[in-house]
Symmetry: C2
Subunit: 302 residues, 2 copies
């Protein structure tokens, strides 16, 4: 049995994880590495489950209904709309008290869906700020969440689920992530800027640059372009559902960037205006975390 | 004496480098590491020169005029407009045959300036596709150019300077870069897309995101934003001069990106259109070089 400071899992015997790609798979590996006695039920397609079972990351394969019936705690780790659909199914199948969370990149849609859950199902949305350009269980790692923010978004329209929130906070701390509590709508607004906008810009850059310079132009490009567009390699399925569930905030973020690019487009030959424009970008960037490690190729940052 | 296949430096005794920041400093270190017998004259501000001399990267400090008088080969490695001014000064001071090249990020402005040089001064523009977010001699490294394209842009309006071009091509190969010959105007057009556009987008992202999410929002951001905006930390002075000397191609590149972002802005909740949009970006990105090394934090690419 784990001590409470290590994540209060003394009462948790069985965890279900629905979706065993990069995020869900890494969650399974992190739990396995931290709590040897917890049983993990995995839900995914047969071919994925076969691979995950053979790696030892989960104890047995289950259906969604079986995971909900047998687990004390279930994480939804599929694309965001699939998580919403799964949460709705849980409302019908959960017979005993259960805590449900998720790992999705947008939170308002699933928090709204959670309002129709029966009283014995407690849902608190979650979003660990970790990931990678390559998806799938093959890229999963037990330390994916180490040092990263793990955002939790309790529903502000419901009475505080203090014990459940506290359990998830301690869980995040125990696997070396940093729990952060946010309002779900504010989470989605902030993510539109810090996560979803850079994703679309990376794709847009490659769509615009590729056909205009061709293979020869891409061949002489440096590591700056590769780093700037790393996110463009992300799986499309994950991102279409993020865009669908965060369209209004993301539209506003795109409008703001378009306006700023239209401004700079008219001052390219004005060095004083350009210097001020570039320096304000550099000042904001100096406030980012995660800038101290080795970037691609020769270019070390900060 | 070096063998011809190792860069035909058998006739080169003295090299001048004007500007000893990241690029010029790395060039000095690369030459020093490869050819022990070549003497290197360095031109920069007194405080920079003092540091470079004490590192042993150059043999002695010189003025521009002295470097031109004493060297067989001079590289201009300052910001691009300073290189143009320096090239004009060389026209007045060069008394004997000399080969001049540069390391600047735009080529048409300096190639046009080179048309007023006297016949005994041969200029061929150069642009090694290497760099780093941190400028200055402190970040210089002998292997900065290893594996990178080293673009050379002979003036298409002049008779071919075959021997000089061949010497620079062999030099680039000898320090493990990959020489590529391009037309100067085509170079600037391609760079507007693969280098200058990502630079402005990185700055624009931080300018738009920073004030809208504040320090708390930046604090929860992941490594994707850090990688996407690495270029925003680049020195402003270098980039104001690049924008000034490539304003028209860069304006066209910005227009193309703005149009693509305006398109995607209106299809955020249309999953099929979004999937096609995102997948075309991923396809183009799969053609980039420099995507196989470790990016920031946990996110490995490809």
């Amino acid at each position: 049995m784990s001590a409470p400071t290590e994540g209060d899992f003394s009462s948790v015997r069985t965890i279900g994880i629905v979706g065993l790609g990069l995020m869900g798979g890494s969650l399974a590996l992190a739990i396995r590495a931290r709590w040897a006695n917890v049983s993990i039920l995995g839900v995914d397609r047969a071919d994925v489950i076969a691979r995950v079972l053979s790696s030892g990351a989960v104890d047995r394969a289950a259906t969604e209904a079986a995971a909900v019936a047998d687990a004390d705690l279930v994480w939804l780790a599929a694309p965001v709309l699939q998580n919403v659909a799964c949460l709705r199914a849980i409302a019908d199948t959960a017979k005993h008290p259960i805590l449900v969370s998720d790992l999705g990149s947008t939170k308002l849609a699933i928090v709204e869906a959670s309002r129709s859950l029966p009283a014995h199902v407690t849902f608190i949305g979650g979003h660990p700020m970790a990931g990678g350009a390559q998806g799938g269980f093959g890229a999963a790692r037990a330390d994916l969440f180490r040092g990263r923010s793990w955002i939790l978004t309790p529903d502000p329209s419901k009475p505080p689920a203090t014990a459940a929130l506290s359990r998830l906070q301690r869980f995040a701390s125990a696997i070396d992530a940093e729990p952060v509590v946010m309002d779900p709508a504010e989470h989605d607004r902030v993510m539109a800027y810090v996560s979803h906008l850079p994703q679309l810009v990376a794709s847009g850059l490659m769509r615009v640059i590729g056909p205009r310079v061709g293979a020869d132009g891409l061949a002489v490009s440096g590591p700056g372009l590769a780093d700037s567009t790393r996110l463009a390699s992300s799986p499309a399925r994950v991102w279409t559902e993020i865009c669908q569930t965060n369209a209004a905030p993301l539209g506003a973020a795109l409008d703001a960037l378009i306006a700023d690019l239209q401004q700079v487009r008219h001052q390219l030959d004005a060095p004083d205006a350009m210097a001020a424009w570039l320096e304000s970008g550099a000042r904001w960037r100096s406030q980012l975390p995660h800038t101290t490690s080795q970037a691609s190729g020769a270019d070390r940052v900060d």
